[in-house]
């Protein structure tokens, strides 16, 4: 009797690779069957497939899998918490008056996209370093200003992600590991600095945020002490948000945490009302909390040798950059930022868009945002999809992650934990790129947001990172 005879006695369960109609035929006969949406490893790229084979040699693979398990453990153990607010120059490590932090991987002034240039010039004018655009442009190009990624300073910034010395920032701490992350206050939608707008209206708002909003939040947080962001994110996922492109529930939850303390402050009533209205009037307030929450969640995985988990994904509108935990924080792997597929505000179309921009995809890196699209089905309409597409986007991400969340759960998937810890090897193997929900900036500075949609990182950065891993470890 061979094992084949055992098969004859069992119910056949078929997996189908390739021609879909073979699966449909089985399905129509009610035979248990699964169709695999198969793609060649690394899209058929021989070099990448070769590197993958080297890294998957049993002895090395075991080390990698152990390292990735440890990374997942740390990600899931994180306790992101708002511990206060501060002024960038006073709290962000390495910040100087000549430093401008920006979103995405390292970039020089001459390669910056329109909205990032606009935001840099706006930042210089806001800081009083230039009196107008012309002067700001000259100063930016002069070499006197040090441009550095937010990510190299424990910070993150949405869209252009520009942080200058005097901007107020949220301070988050990962209580489990003691590391901190910083992010500016969200300015709202429309003509705002992060989309590259740089006129008097923008500066006026930024100055009000520094002079009026900041003291209110600072004193309120002193009264409040701390706010556990992990709890807020767990809740908002059950309220239709995914904490990247939809932050309505998150912002509401934040207000519930803040308002009693604001009310208790001994300051003019009008200042309280203004602060409250500003936060209330901006659905994306919470984005600038969820981003540093994810940032301080991911940073502790950097020192794990052989770890192939993505510690960072970010973009500057020119390049998309990733960092691999096991290769350390100083190695960036980049490819050209892609155009966002999405829905445009009336009056705009694809021709107006800047390529993919901002540090906000730190949310996807940590397992929320696009990875939780199934929790925020309203988002899927941006790309003309149906609710079932949102479910499928989230389900697909389990194919490229090390594991699943314990706190961040998706109701529509029977409260399954969200796909967490993107594994470079799985991305290459499956050809599935992480899905990112994002806003779309106008390609010219000064205009602002023109739409929203979904986007993927370019394949190139993954292939480069894979080659580096193979060179280092194999």
């Amino acid at each position: 009797m061979s094992k084949l005879n055992d098969l004859f006695a069992k119910e056949l369960h078929v997996v189908n690779f390739g021609i879909e109609s073979f699966y449909k035929d089985l399905e129509s006969q009610r035979v248990p069957a699964v169709h695999v949406d198969w793609k060649p490893v690394a899209g058929g790229d021989k070099v990448a497939a070769g590197n993958l084979r080297k890294l998957k040699k049993p002895e090395l693979l075991e080390k990698i899998q152990e390292a990735n398990k440890e990374a997942l453990r740390r990600i899931l153990a994180a306790q992101p918490t708002i511990v206060g607010v501060g002024i960038a120059g006073e709290v962000i490590p390495g910040m100087t008056e000549d430093t401008i932090l920006h979103a995405g991987p390292p970039i020089t002034w001459d390669r910056m996209c329109g909205p990032q240039r606009g935001a840099v010039m706006g930042g210089l004018i806001y800081e009083g370093r230039a009196k107008d655009i012309a002067e700001a442009e000259k100063l930016a190009a002069s070499g006197k200003i040090k441009f550095d990624p937010c990510h190299m300073h424990s910070a993150v910034g949405p869209m252009a992600g520009v942080v200058t010395y005097h901007m107020p920032v949220w301070i988050l701490e990962n209580k489990a590991f003691g590391n901190r992350a910083y992010c500016t206050f969200n300015e709202g939608l429309g003509k705002v600095l992060r989309f590259g707008a740089c006129d008097e209206e923008v500066f006026e708002r930024l100055r009000w945020m520094e002079k009026k909003l900041y003291p209110v939040l600072r004193d309120a947080m002193k009264l409040k002490g701390e706010i556990d962001v992990k709890v807020l994110i767990s809740k908002l996922l059950q309220m239709g948000d995914e904490a990247h492109n939809r932050n309505e529930a998150g912002t509401s939850l934040l207000i519930r945490e803040l308002v009693p303390s604001i009310m208790a402050l001994d300051i003019p009533e009008q200042d309280k009302i203004d602060a409250f209205n500003f936060i209330n009037g901006n659905n994306h307030t919470f984005l600038n909390i969820s981003m540093p929450a994810c940032k301080c969640t991911m940073d502790p995985i950097f020192d794990i040798p052989y770890c192939t988990v993505l510690a960072t994904m970010c973009r500057n509108g020119t390049d998309f950059g990733i960092r691999i935990a096991g290769l350390g924080p100083n190695k960036w792997f980049t490819g050209p930022a892609e155009m966002v597929k999405g829905l445009y505000f009336p009056g705009f179309d694809e021709c107006d868009a800047a390529p993919d921009l901002g540090d906000s995809c730190i949310t996807e890196t940590a397992g929320i945002g696009g990875f939780c699209m199934a929790a925020a089905p309203a988002i899927v309409q941006f790309v003309g999809g149906q609710v079932s597409d949102a479910l499928n986007y989230s389900k697909t991400m389990y194919e490229i992650t090390v594991g699943e969340g314990q706190s961040y759960k998706i109701p529509a998937l029977d409260f399954r934990g969200s796909a967490t810890g993107i594994d470079l090897l799985k991305v290459i193997e499956t050809g599935i790129r992480p899905i990112i929900n994002t806003g779309i900036a106008h390609k010219d500075y000064g205009v602002g947001q023109v739409g929203a949609g979904i986007v993927n990182p370019p394949e190139e950065c993954f292939k480069k990172a894979l080659a580096a891993c193979a060179e280092e470890w194999a």
Partner: protein
């Protein structure tokens, strides 16, 4: 003109409204449109695109829903309002899409009990996919072709050692636990177990078994190269052993092209100790060694089915060389048809979608016809060059599933249109007497292969008639009553087009021989 509708205190989701704005702009006569809640952002946009009239600024507040349209006329605005209403109330009626995992690991999460993989990915990737399944203890049916013989050997050696199946590469047909896989027919459960190295040959034998009222226990495919020396018949051996041990299998049938001599001996030696009757059909091969080992040799695929059924029923064995309709009736029909033909009509053209069926037909007829020109000739000198685009020559048989015909196209059993065109082309040839075709139904095949073929037959026959000729079209339908396309429905469709429809490939060739023999 700019027109405005305001609904006080109405709320709609902003994304829905953005989509509606986009759709409105597509209406004739609409220059610009904005549908939204009166948020600061939307008010700003309305100003930017010239829709903010004084009326707008005076009336729209953040709790209001508005429709602002720049359009040619009142009528256009009314149409736009109607469109808004329609889109706001639109219900999604599309079916929920099934989730297809992208990897084997993902598939195992969906169903941890997977035990059979059907693989039809491009050949250069197929071996890797197959090995990953074997690693997970999953049996493999490898439909893909262009898998190298080295890859096949490695896969089968691994599989044989682990008692797993690798059916293929280039295996089109299998029925495991009565589940038809890829190209296979609906055959009832029964006592005949088959191991086969040919695709349509397997379909022919299993379908005729079903037509005779019996059924199959297992139909195991091996792929065409399994009985070559390099592979050593590993899967034939594994399959044969399993059928010998299978209590549900009472009679075993082996089907293959003639194998390498030592492999044939090895297989036949196992078969002779099977302890149950074994019918062997080495298509066109020498029956001597088979009979010398005390096994039953078949004369054709059809004969293999008849003999297996006779053995199962304990009936006396005889070579089946008859016509189901009756030999006298067939002879009379052939004579009548031949009598209607013009002097110029001399040759048969066989146009096949099934490779094994084409091969079998040529082998059954070669003694009578002398030369048969083909893209898969029996003798090298009869090779028809440029078979796809060039003309036929005398007696010509074409396998439309051969590489030359499938470059950039699906297999002819899925898309038989090229074959249908050829029926029409050759029908115009004054030397063409008979066109012989197969029509293979069952799972995997085109949903109605008889439709295309019967149209072509009708056209070809009519055009020949106009030229004063009588064109005979003979079709064998390979399939069963239970197939999705249904055997009798398919036969009727072809008969209605004027074809002579026969229940097996062997009978079809016998009938063609009768027609040719009766020509003046």
């Amino acid at each position: 003109m700019v027109k405005l509708e305001i609904r006080k205190n109405a709320y709609y989701d902003s994304v829905t409204l953005m989509l509606i704005s986009k759709d409105l702009k597509k209406l004739d006569g609409v220059k610009e449109a904005l549908v939204g809640m009166g948020t600061d952002l939307n008010v700003e946009i309305a100003h930017n695109i010239g829709l903010a009239t004084p009326e707008f600024d005076a009336n729209v507040t953040s709790n209001d829903f508005f429709v602002a349209v720049e359009c040619d006329s009142e009528e256009v605005f009314e149409a736009a309002q109607k469109k808004v209403e329609e889109l706001l109330n639109k219900k999604s009626e599309q079916k929920e899409s099934t989730y297809y995992p992208p990897t084997l690991e993902g598939a195992i999460k969906v169903d941890p009990d997977l035990n059979m993989a059907v693989i039809s990915v491009p050949g250069k990737f197929a071996a890797d996919v197959a090995q990953s399944c074997l690693d997970r203890d999953i049996n493999v049916m490898l439909f893909s072709d262009n898998v190298t013989i080295e890859e096949e050997k490695a896969l089968k050696e691994y599989a044989y050692a682990h008692e797993l199946l690798v059916m293929g590469p280039d295996c089109g047909t299998a029925i495991i636990n009565n589940i038809p896989l890829a190209f296979a027919n609906v055959v009832p459960k029964g006592g005949i177990g088959m191991v086969c190295a040919s695709g349509t040959g397997t379909q022919e034998v299993s379908s005729i078994i079903a037509q005779l009222g019996e059924g199959v226990s297992q139909v195991i495919g091996t792929g065409g190269r399994d009985l070559k020396k390099d592979i050593g018949g590993l899967m034939m051996k594994l399959g044969l052993d399993a059928l010998i041990n299978d209590p549900n299998t009472k009679v075993i049938t082996l089907v293959s092209k003639p194998p390498a001599a030592e492999i044939a001996s090895m297989i036949l030696d196992i078969a002779k100790d099977a302890g149950k009757p074994v019918v062997v059909e080495f298509i066109g091969g020498d029956p001597k060694e088979i009979e010398a080992k005390g096994l039953i040799a078949a004369k054709s695929l059809e004969d293999a089915a008849h003999k297996a059924v006779a053995l199962l029923r304990g009936e006396p064995l005889k070579d089946y060389v008859d016509f189901t309709m009756g030999n006298d009736k067939a002879e009379a029909m052939a004579k009548e048809i031949a009598g209607k033909m013009a002097k110029s009509q001399k040759y048969v053209r066989g146009f096949y979608t099934g490779g094994t069926l084409c091969d079998e037909a040529m082998k059954l007829m070669i003694d009578k016809l002398g030369h048969i020109y083909s893209n898969i000739p029996l003798h090298a000198e009869d090779k028809l060059e440029n078979a796809r685009t060039g003309p036929s020559k005398e007696h010509t048989f074409l396998d439309f599933g051969d590489d030359e015909f499938t470059v950039g196209r699906p297999h002819p059993m899925i898309d038989p249109s090229l074959r249908a065109e050829r029926v029409i082309t050759d029908g115009k040839d004054p030397e063409c007497a008979v066109i012989l075709c197969d029509c293979v139904i069952g799972y995997g095949s085109h949903e109605d292969p008889a439709a295309d073929l019967s149209d072509a037959i009708r056209t070809a026959k009519a055009e020949a008639e106009k030229e004063g000729r009588y064109l005979c079209c003979v079709v064998e339908v390979c399939g069963t009553e239970g197939d999705p396309q249904c055997l009798s429905r398919t036969q009727k469709k072809l008969e209605d087009a004027g074809a002579v429809v026969l229940p097996s490939n062997a009978q079809a060739t016998r009938f063609v021989e009768r027609v040719l023999a009766n020509l003046k």
